[in-house]
């Protein structure tokens, strides 16, 4: 197996773990809310998902730097490094890292953190796959911001619906 294949496998693995665990942590959180509370066992289950998200993030960051080293060694230069897609992806990952930290220290509430996390993970995945995305940086980031706001209200609706079943 050559280095590029190894880095690609690692990058996809990190993304799969992150996107998958982020999705399921929300699904399970909403299911657990049906009785109106998160009991200790449910909390432990959610913690496992959060650990998987962290693992995915670390793998994603390391493998991402693997790509960077390869680009640098192949002298791909500004065409790749300063491309709108790459700059947007870096922005999304930085937001993801900041929010992950803020969630751990309870600096943002759960719903805001979840909305940003889920949109960021899916955003990073889409930007990774859609290599010839034709839109400029500001357009990509604007869509990302709008989707985050939409996700916040969707999560709020789903949480209130889940809690209503309990009442």
């Amino acid at each position: 197996m050559d280095l590029r294949t190894f880095i690609t496998i690692a990058h996809i693995t990190g993304t799969v773990l992150g996107v998958g665990a982020t999705t399921f942590v929300e699904v399970f959180y909403l299911r657990f809310l049906r009785d109106g509370k998160i009991d200790p066992l449910e909390n432990d289950i959610l913690k496992v998902f959060y650990q998987i998200i962290r693992l995915g993030l670390v793998i994603l960051v390391f493998s991402g730097f693997g790509y960077l080293v390869m680009w640098r060694l192949n002298f791909l230069g500004p065409v790749v490094f300063f491309s709108d897609r790459f700059l947007a992806k870096i922005t999304v990952i930085l937001v993801l890292l900041t929010v992950a930290f803020a969630i751990n220290f309870r600096l943002v509430n759960h719903r805001v953190g979840s909305a940003i996390t889920i949109v960021s993970w899916y955003g990073a995945m889409i930007l990774g796959i859609w290599r010839k995305i034709p839109y400029p940086y500001y357009a990509i980031i604007s869509v990302y911001a709008i989707l985050t706001i939409v996700a916040y209200f969707v999560l709020r609706y789903l949480e209130s619906r889940a809690s209503a079943k309990h009442k």
Partner: protein
Amino acid sequence: MNPLFLNALVWHIFLGIAAIIIFAGLPLLLRGKKLNTGLLKVYSFIGFFGFVGSWITGGYYYSFYYGKAIKGGILAGTTPWVHEILMESKEHVFLFLPFLAFVVLVIVNFFSKELVTNAKLRMNLILLSVAIVTLGIVITLCGFAISGSVVGKH
């Protein structure tokens, strides 16, 4: 680029990123009710030696390769500010990191009992780790821009 410079560049990036990730994990260990001082010591060692290793390999690459083979190309290219501002900032700000990491290493290893009992010390150590991670990320972003400005084979 010969294998020595190639290794220096790769290890500079790898060790730097490893150290940043370790220092991002340190506050998570510090905020718990039960402090795992053993793991904290391991983190602080890896983080410190990661930065020192990144410093040495990066310094070697910068001194013996970058200045001769890369710098001129960036200055002659479309983004000379990448060297003039970002690289100059990076090489100076990077000087702080091993020393800040050393402070964390000393506190974690020689004041571990105080860390358990003194919440204020713990909070200050969390803030110091956050500062290290923030500086590390800023330097990393400068590194992106520098790598992105290198064009053509050297």
